[in-house]
C-alpha cells in the first residue's frame, strides 16, 4: 500500500522543479506585473492604491510611449522580412556541394560564436560616422547614430547579426531534410531553380519557416539589449522601443506601475501577433 502511494507520487515529484520554476518565474511575476499595472506603486515596489486602467490611460497619451510603440512596431515590420530574407538566402545560396559551400556555411553560423555585447560593441565602433570603417569602405558618410532612419537601419542590422547564426542552421537543416529523390524528380521534369523553390522547397520547409517567423516576431517586439548598448534610444527617441522604455521607467526611474503597464502592453501585442501568425499557418502550411 505504501509503495503504491510512493509510486504514484513519483511523477509529480519529478516534475516539481519545472512546475515550481514556472510558477515562481513565469506565472507569479506575470500576475504581479498585471496587478502592478492596475495600481499606483511606490518606489519600493509596494502597491499603494488601486487605480484601474488609469495607468494605461496615462500611458497611451504619453508621447514617449506612443513613440516607443510606433518604433517597436516599425522595427518588427522591417526586421522580420529582412531577417527572414537574409537567413533564407544564406541557407539557399550555400545549399550546394563542395568545399566552398562548406566554407560559406561556416561563415554563416559563425556570428553565433560572437556574444551579444561583443557584437554590439564591434558594430558601435565600425559604424561610427567619423572614424568607423563602414563609412570609409563604402565611401559614404551616413550618420548612423544621428539620423533616425539610419539608426533604425543599424538596429535592424544588429538584430540580423545576432540572429543569423541559429536561424541559418535551422533553415539549412530544413533544406537538407527535403528528400533528395523529390528534388531529382523535379529537376528531371524540367523545373528551374525558382520553380523548385516555390513549389517544392518552400512548402516543405514551411514548418521551420513558421518557427523562424514566430521567434523573429517575438524577438523584434521585445528588442532591448541592442538599444541599450548601441543607441540608448536615440537619436531623439527614434530607436526607443517598448522594452527599453520599460527599463527606463521601471528600473531607472523606479516607476513600477508604468513599467508594468508597458510590460502588459508588450505581452498582449506580441501574443496577438503570434496568434495571427498561427492562423495564417493553419491555413497554409503543410505538415507531413
Amino acid at each position: 500500500m505504501n509503495r503504491h502511494w510512493k509510486h504514484s507520487l513519483k511523477p509529480y515529484l519529478l516534475i516539481l522543479p519545472a512546475l515550481f520554476l514556472a510558477g515562481l518565474f513565469a506565472y507569479r511575476p506575470f500576475v504581479i506585473t498585471l496587478l502592478n499595472s492596475l495600481y499606483t506603486v511606490s518606489i519600493n515596489g509596494q502597491r499603494i492604491a488601486f487605480v484601474g486602467l488609469d495607468n494605461f490611460r496615462r500611458l497611451f497619451v504619453n508621447e514617449s510611449f506612443q513613440t516607443s510603440l510606433s518604433n517597436t512596431l516599425r522595427f518588427t515590420l522591417y526586421f522580420v522580412p529582412v531577417n527572414v530574407f537574409i537567413c533564407l538566402s544564406a541557407a539557399l545560396l550555400s545549399h550546394r556541394e563542395g568545399k566552398l559551400a562548406t566554407l560559406n556555411q561556416i561563415c554563416f553560423f559563425l556570428p553565433m560564436a560572437v556574444g551579444l555585447s561583443s557584437a554590439m560593441m564591434i558594430l558601435k565602433m565600425i559604424f561610427n560616422p567619423f572614424i568607423g570603417i563602414v563609412n570609409q569602405l563604402l565611401g559614404i558618410s551616413v550618420e548612423w547614430f544621428n539620423n533616425p532612419n539610419a539608426a533604425m537601419a543599424l538596429l535592424v542590422i544588429a538584430g540580423v547579426y545576432l540572429d543569423i547564426g541559429i536561424k541559418f542552421l535551422l533553415l539549412h537543416a530544413a533544406l537538407r531534410n527535403i528528400p533528395a529523390n523529390l528534388v531529382e524528380v523535379a529537376t528531371l521534369e524540367g523545373a528551374n531553380p525558382l520553380q523548385l523553390f516555390k513549389y517544392l522547397q518552400l512548402p516543405l520547409i514551411a514548418p521551420t519557416l513558421v518557427f523562424v517567423l514566430a521567434t523573429n516576431i517575438k524577438d523584434a517586439m521585445l528588442i532591448s539589449s541592442p538599444v541599450l548598448i548601441l543607441t540608448e534610444g536615440g537619436p531623439f527617441r527614434s530607436t526607443q522601443t517598448l522594452v527599453y522604455q520599460m527599463y527606463l521607467e521601471g528600473f531607472k526611474s523606479g516607476n513600477y506601475a508604468m513599467g508594468s503597464a508597458i510590460a502588459t502592453v508588450v505581452f498582449f501585442l506580441t501574443f496577438l501577433l503570434l496568434l495571427a501568425l498561427l492562423q495564417i499557418e493553419r491555413r497554409r502550411v503543410y505538415y507531413q
Partner: protein, 440 residues
C-alpha cells in the same frame, strides 16, 4: 543521484558571496572614472594609502563600477533591497543621482563629517559647494567638477578672418555662417556649429538669463522636490528658443546629438560646446590637424550674465555599519585638498574645487603653459555661484524631451512659444508621476 548532484550545485551557487577579512580599515570607493581619469584615480588612492592612510591605518579601495549611471544603479539596487552592509563607504555619483540618494537614511551628509572635524567649508569654491547643497546643507563633496566651454577650430577662424570667438548666440549665428564649407555639389562638408541642446547646456542657457533664473521651483530642486518648471512662465525658454531658431535658420547649425567630439576633431564642424573634461581628449584627437581654441560658453543675450554652473560629480558617504565614517572622511579630505585637486586637475582637466589650489605656484605655472584651461577657470570665477543645476526625477526622459522638442521646433516649424509650453506640460507630467510615487 542526479538530484543529489543538482542539489549540491544549487547550494554551492547560492552560497557564492564575497568574504573579506580585514585588520586595516578598508574604505571602499565606487567610481566611474576610466581612461585618463581612471589612472588619476589610481594615483590619488595610492598617494593616500602610502601617506595619510599608512599613518592612520586606513586603506582605500577604489572600485570602477562603469559609467556614472551604473554606479547609481548599483547603489540604488542595494538601497532598495535594504542590505546596508553591501553599500560602499564612498560613491562618486553625478547630478542625475541626487534625487535617489539625498533622502536615504543611509546617507551621511558630508557637512556633518566636515564640521565634526573642524573643516572650513568656505575653503571650497562657492559654486562647487552650492552644487551639492540641499536645504542649505552640503550633502556631498564636489569632486570631478566641470563646466561647459565653446570649442572652436582656430585655424578655420584664422582662415575666415574671424578675430575672436562669438560671445552671444546672435554672434554665434553670424560666425557659424561664415564658417560653413560646401563642396562642389553644394553639400555641406563642414557646418559652422553642431549641437542639439542637452539638459546640462540648457541649465546654463536658461539659468544665466537676467543674471539668474530658475528652471524649476524649489530652487531647481535644491530646497525640496520640484513640483513644476518655471522656464515657461519666466520666459527664459521662449527667449532661448527664439535665438536658437534664428541660429538654425541661418543654415549653419547641424543637429548633431552624438559624437560631437568626433565631428569636431575630424573637421566636420567648426564649433561645438562641450565639457571642460573633454579638453584633453579633444586635443589628443585633433592632434596637429588644426589649432583648437576655447572660449566662454555663449550667452543667450546681453542680459544673460549668470555664466555657467558647476556640473560633474561629487563623492557621497554612506553608513554601511562598518564604522568607517572617520576613515572615509580622511580620504575625502585628502582628495579635496589643495595639492590633490591640482594633481587631479592636471591629469584630467576637472576643476580644482579647493581655493588653496588656485594660489599654488605649481598651479600658476601649469595654467601659464596651458592657457586653454585658464579660460574655463576664469569663466567660472565670473559666473554667479547661485546658478545651479537641476535636481529632477526622470532625468533621462527629460533629456530626450528637450532634444525631441527642440528638434520638432526646428524641423516642423513650430513656434518657440508652442514648444516651450509643450515642454512645460511634458516635464511637469514627469514631476507629477514622481510625486505620485512618493505617495503624495
Amino acid at each position: 543521484m542526479i538530484i543529489l548532484i543538482s542539489l549540491t550545485t544549487v547550494l554551492f551557487a547560492a552560497g557564492q558571496r564575497e568574504i573579506k577579512p580585514d585588520p586595516v580599515r578598508t574604505v571602499t570607493w565606487w567610481h566611474p572614472n576610466s581612461g585618463l581619469a581612471g589612472q588619476a584615480t589610481q594615483a590619488m588612492v595610492q598617494a593616500f594609502n602610502s601617506t595619510v592612510g599608512a599613518e592612520k591605518n586606513i586603506r582605500v579601495e577604489a572600485v570602477y563600477q562603469g559609467k556614472a549611471n551604473d554606479v547609481l544603479t548599483k547603489a540604488k539596487a542595494i538601497l532598495q533591497s535594504d542590505s546596508r552592509r553591501d553599500l560602499p563607504d564612498l560613491a562618486q555619483l553625478d547630478g542625475a543621482a541626487v534625487l535617489d540618494i539625498r533622502d536615504v537614511d543611509a546617507l551621511i551628509p558630508m557637512e556633518d563629517l566636515a564640521l565634526s572635524d573642524g573643516y572650513d567649508l568656505d575653503a571650497i569654491l562657492e559654486a562647487a559647494r552650492l552644487s551639492v547643497t540641499y536645504k542649505d546643507k552640503m550633502i556631498a563633496m564636489p569632486f570631478n567638477s566641470s563646466t561647459i566651454l565653446l570649442y572652436y577650430n582656430k585655424t578655420a577662424f584664422d582662415q575666415g578672418g574671424i578675430a575672436r570667438a562669438p560671445r552671444t548666440l546672435d554672434e554665434l549665428a553670424v560666425t557659424a555662417q561664415a564658417l560653413v564649407q560646401k563642396d562642389a555639389r553644394g553639400n555641406v562638408i563642414r557646418s559652422g556649429f553642431a549641437n542639439v541642446p542637452t539638459t546640462y547646456e540648457l541649465i546654463a542657457w536658461l539659468g544665466q538669463q537676467n543674471h539668474l533664473s530658475y528652471i524649476t521651483d524649489q530652487e531647481n530642486g535644491h530646497a525640496g522636490n520640484p513640483t513644476r518648471v518655471l522656464f515657461h512662465e519666466n520666459g527664459t525658454m521662449v527667449n532661448f528658443l527664439t535665438k536658437w531658431k534664428a541660429l538654425y535658420d541661418t543654415g549653419a547649425l547641424e543637429n548633431l546629438t552624438s559624437d560631437r567630439n568626433g565631428a569636431f576633431a575630424s573637421g566636420r564642424t567648426a564649433m561645438i560646446v562641450a565639457s571642460t573634461s573633454n579638453l584633453t581628449t579633444i586635443l589628443s584627437m585633433v592632434g596637429d590637424r588644426f589649432e583648437v581654441g576655447v572660449a566662454n560658453f555663449p550667452m543667450v543675450d546681453e542680459h544673460a550674465t549668470g555664466g555657467v554652473n558647476v556640473g560633474g560629480g561629487a563623492i557621497w558617504a554612506f553608513d554601511n555599519g562598518s564604522g568607517n565614517r572617520d576613515a572615509a572622511w580622511e580620504f575625502v579630505k585628502f582628495a579635496s585638498s589643495g595639492e590633490q585637486q591640482l594633481a587631479w586637475h592636471i591629469a584630467t582637466g576637472y576643476f580644482p574645487i579647493h581655493r588653496d589650489t588656485y594660489s599654488l605656484p605649481a598651479f600658476e605655472e601649469h595654467i601659464a603653459k596651458n592657457p586653454l584651461f585658464k579660460v574655463a577657470i576664469d569663466q567660472l570665477m565670473q559666473s554667479n555661484p547661485q546658478l545651479q543645476g537641476i535636481w529632477v526625477p526622470s532625468a533621462y526622459q527629460i533629456y530626450y524631451a528637450f532634444q525631441t522638442g527642440i528638434l520638432k521646433m526646428l524641423t516642423e516649424n513650430r513656434s518657440p512659444e508652442e514648444t516651450s509650453r509643450a515642454l512645460e506640460a511634458e516635464i511637469n507630467g514627469y514631476f507629477a508621476e514622481y510625486l505620485r510615487m512618493q505617495g503624495q
